[in-house]
């Protein structure tokens, strides 16, 4: 059941899906850091919410007490299926060593700098095509018409599945991650996604292509052929983790530039400012919160965490911690010291981080090349999604 009680006390009864948290989590974290830096809730099961950089990094590194076997921020409700389709979950993100280690080695080369460089040209052409669609009209929804359209097509290209299915993929991923309180929609989306990949795997058994799915299927894991259910899990992960996340990062970056025209001007005129700026935008608007499951009773910062409890890996809050960053709420495009953990920390560092950075950079470059000066449309509403992934979903902008 969706718990819609308003939050009276964020320290003992927080709700990451509360609208005020989705719209402005920053002031909640600020208050919690002063009062109760590791908050707790019993909504959707006993769950802890750290808010400082140090605590989030320490938790991410303690893989013995904090397992990745359950990384979903909003848990599934209802009975689990007797025979799970994804026997191994969606590794490596949902696995601990040793499965984590071996499956991670399978996918990392597909997201290496060398590989990511080879995806840049198609990404740039895609971004330019999208801008063509609206540049003459003087207005666009920078989230729905642009940001949302990019990562899903790049991921489809890497997996070797049809880009025409982009809207379907987006629908599945949003249902799983974003509309997470709608259990029925979530289950349907998950079934759709799994059925689709089972068919794609069967096709590649007959006719392998030059894509990630084929390579996984015909590769080896510890000297053995890779089981279908493992290929399925990894493929599902690449789609789920590669779409909503980067789209949110691009959308938040464009929101920032629409509301800070001086920063847009800097980036439009100085391409060399881009690499540090991307890191700063990642820090300030980190989209992704992950979860861990407590494996055995443990006291952390005086909090009695019980086996089975969930801990939210609040990377976005870590990146706004004044103990770790000077003026954390200021976006300083050329911030020189920036050990942000937008891609996580420790062994689960986002496997697609190089790809995400490239997509962000190219998306912002192609936008600014044609639309260097743009603003939020007066009177229009910007809407945000939150929970596991935070970012704008509607971002109506106008430009001369």
């Amino acid at each position: 059941m969706t718990d819609v009680r308003p939050v009276a006390d964020w320290a003992s009864d927080f709700d990451v899906l509360a609208q005020e948290y989705v719209n402005d989590p920053f002031s909640v974290w600020d208050r919690l850091r002063g009062e109760c830096p590791v908050a707790h809730t019993d909504r959707r099961g006993s769950t802890w919410l750290p808010t400082t950089y140090r605590d989030v990094v320490d938790l991410a590194h303690d893989i013995d007490h904090f397992s990745s076997i359950d990384i979903i921020v909003i848990p599934f409700e209802g009975e689990p299926p007797e025979e799970p389709v994804l026997l191994y979950g969606i590794p490596p993100i949902s696995a601990d060593p040793p499965l984590h280690t071996s499956t991670r080695r399978m996918i990392l080369p597909w997201f290496s700098h060398r590989k990511v460089d080879s995806y840049e040209e198609m990404t740039r052409a895609l971004c330019a095509r999208l801008v063509d669609e609206f540049v003459e009209t003087g207005r666009a929804d920078a989230a729905a018409d642009y940001a949302q359209q990019i990562p899903v097509r790049v991921i489809a290209h890497i997996l070797g599945v049809p880009a025409e299915m982009a809207d379907t993929f987006t629908g599945w991923v949003r249902a799983v991650l974003e509309f997470a309180d709608d259990m029925e929609g979530r289950r349907e989306a998950f079934e759709g996604l799994v059925t689709f990949f089972i068919e794609e795997i069967e096709k590649r058994k007959v006719t392998p292509g030059d894509d990630l799915l084929s390579e996984l299927l015909h590769g080896e894991l510890d000297g053995q052929p890779v089981e279908d259910s493992l290929v399925l899990g990894v493929a599902a992960l690449v789609l789920i983790a590669g779409v909503d996340t980067t789209w949110s990062a691009i959308g938040s970056s464009l929101w920032h530039l629409a509301t800070h025209p001086e920063d847009a001007k800097t980036l439009a005129s100085d391409p060399e400012a881009m690499p540090l700026a991307i890191e700063e935008l990642l820090r300030a608007y980190s989209p992704v919160t992950m979860a861990r499951m407590v494996t055995q009773d443990v006291e952390f910062q005086g909090c009695p965490m019980k086996a089975g409890d969930k801990v939210l890996m609040n990377f976005p809050a870590a990146n706004r911690d004044p103990e770790a960053f000077d003026d954390p709420d200021q976006v300083i495009l050329d911030r020189a010291q920036n050990r942000h953990v937008a891609f996580g920390s420790g062994i689960h560092r986002c496997a697609g981080s190089n790809l995400a950075r490239m997509e962000m950079r190219v998306a912002i470059e192609e936008w600014l090349k044609r639309i260097p000066d743009f603003r939020i449309e007066e009177g229009a509403e910007v809407t945000w999604a939150g929970g596991q992934v935070r970012g704008p979903r509607n971002l109506p902008v106008v430009f001369p």
């Binding site: 990392l108 997201f111 290496s112 700098h113 920036n338 050990r339 953990v341 891609f343 920390s345 420790g346």
Partner: protein, 65 residues
């Protein structure tokens, strides 16, 4: 100045490579290492310090000042 990357700490954020591609290489699995024997030409020392200050895993060490 001489630097090295601790392979036990590096988890592949690749921030060092992004900031100082002349001083670091990254393999296909994302792990960074210092180019050559880790010696930093004087004109790149600022870049080396920038890379050190941005590593989220504190994996880069100054072996020799």
């Amino acid at each position: 100045m001489k630097i090295s990357v601790d392979p036990e700490k590096c988890t592949g954020h690749a921030r060092c490579y992004g900031l100082a591609p002349d001083l670091f290489t990254v393999d296909d699995y994302g792990l960074s290492s210092a180019v050559g024997d880790g010696s930093v030409p004087p004109e790149l020392e600022d870049k080396a310090r920038l890379a050190i200050a941005n590593c989220p895993e504190y994996a880069i060490e100054v072996v020799e000042e």
